[in-house]
Symmetry: C2
Subunit: 202 residues, 2 copies
């Protein structure tokens, strides 16, 4: 996940693209996705496409009915939102507490760089990239604390939640909140980090 080898499988590339389209609203709710059309779009056969659709269904972004194809899932019912927020906070607080005092300079510069890119993405109004970087920032903690394993449990929540608020905070607030988390980590102050996190998740 955070190793040097930047090779990404065809499947993951397609999955990332479709995920982005759904989260950004390019693909609207209930849109039916046809395997053949997607295969043509990405220049592969239907096999890998089916893999991707299955994957995204497991993540909750798509819903699939037997022999009836898959379509873009509706945003989760708002009644679920408080629950999902709680769980995100549970997981990410756990992560922050776990990794506090274990980060080195390389980790910090990775996060700093992420925030710089985030700032730039805001300036260029590239909101797809904003979302991507935002998620990457949080994923870093989760991965550090619980590895691929915990990331797999955590990811569906964040993806599903993102379907609800297409509109993001103002740039300044978002950057500040993330910077708050990062600063607290630098000071080995996990309590403040969690506090900053809670301000960020809503």
């Amino acid at each position: 996940m955070f190793d040097n080898n930047a090779i990404v499988s065809v499947r993951d590339q397609i999955a990332n693209q479709l995920r982005a389209d759904i989260i950004n609203g390019t693909l609207i709710e209930n849109t039916k996705l046809k395997e053949h059309a997607l295969a043509e779009r990405f220049g592969v056969s239907r096999g890998p496409i089916r893999d991707v659709l299955l994957q995204l269904s497991k993540e909750g972004l798509l819903v699939s009915k037997n022999n009836c194809g898959v379509s873009v899932n509706t945003a989760p019912d708002t009644s679920l939102q408080p629950l999902m927020i709680n769980i995100r906070i549970d997981i990410e607080s756990f992560a922050l507490k776990t990794i506090a005092n274990t980060l080195d300079d390389k980790d910090f510069s990775y996060l700093e760089e992420l925030l710089l890119k985030l700032q730039k993405a805001f300036e260029q109004q590239d909101y797809a990239l904003v979302t991507d970087l935002d998620i990457s920032f949080h994923r870093f903690f989760v991965y550090k604390a619980g590895g691929e394993d915990l990331v797999n449990l955590w990811q569906p929540f964040i993806y599903r939640m993102r379907m609800n608020y297409k509109r993001l905070d103002t740039a300044d607030a978002c950057i500040d909140e993330h910077q708050g988390i990062l600063n607290a980590l630098k000071n080995n102050d996990s309590k403040s980090a969690v506090k900053a996190l809670k301000a960020n998740i809503k």
Copy 2:
């Protein structure tokens, strides 16, 4: 999920079988699963098998490395267990509170029947079935409260947790705990239901 049509896709049948094998310990950690062998075992081609492996990887029961096949995942690190227990309780408490006062006789008799089967499975020492029925009991709440959507978020946690304790409680304790939840629901006492739930999850 709980509708009459009992038709289950080939994919799901195979997935259920493999899941059971992993949770029950028939398939031990780090066992490498070969697509061709599985295809032969289940009498299908490699296509559906690949789908299943991808699905179970998303659930965390398997891990997959590019071009290197999939193998049975190790049980989650014990440091994650408190977190996972919390989240299960979060979700299932939410579910119990949500559905309290909404259940009808049909629901209750479904749950009663489940407990009867559970008792029988214990008597016959069919622990695979015990696990299955236990999970079904809890899934009922979660589905009622949040539909397929919430089930998808919840399921990976329960599967992953089940990898840790192969050994189940004694029959009596397990039945009693579930009966406690059911009784509280019948009395529309969601508070007691949650309390009984917390006793059950550990």
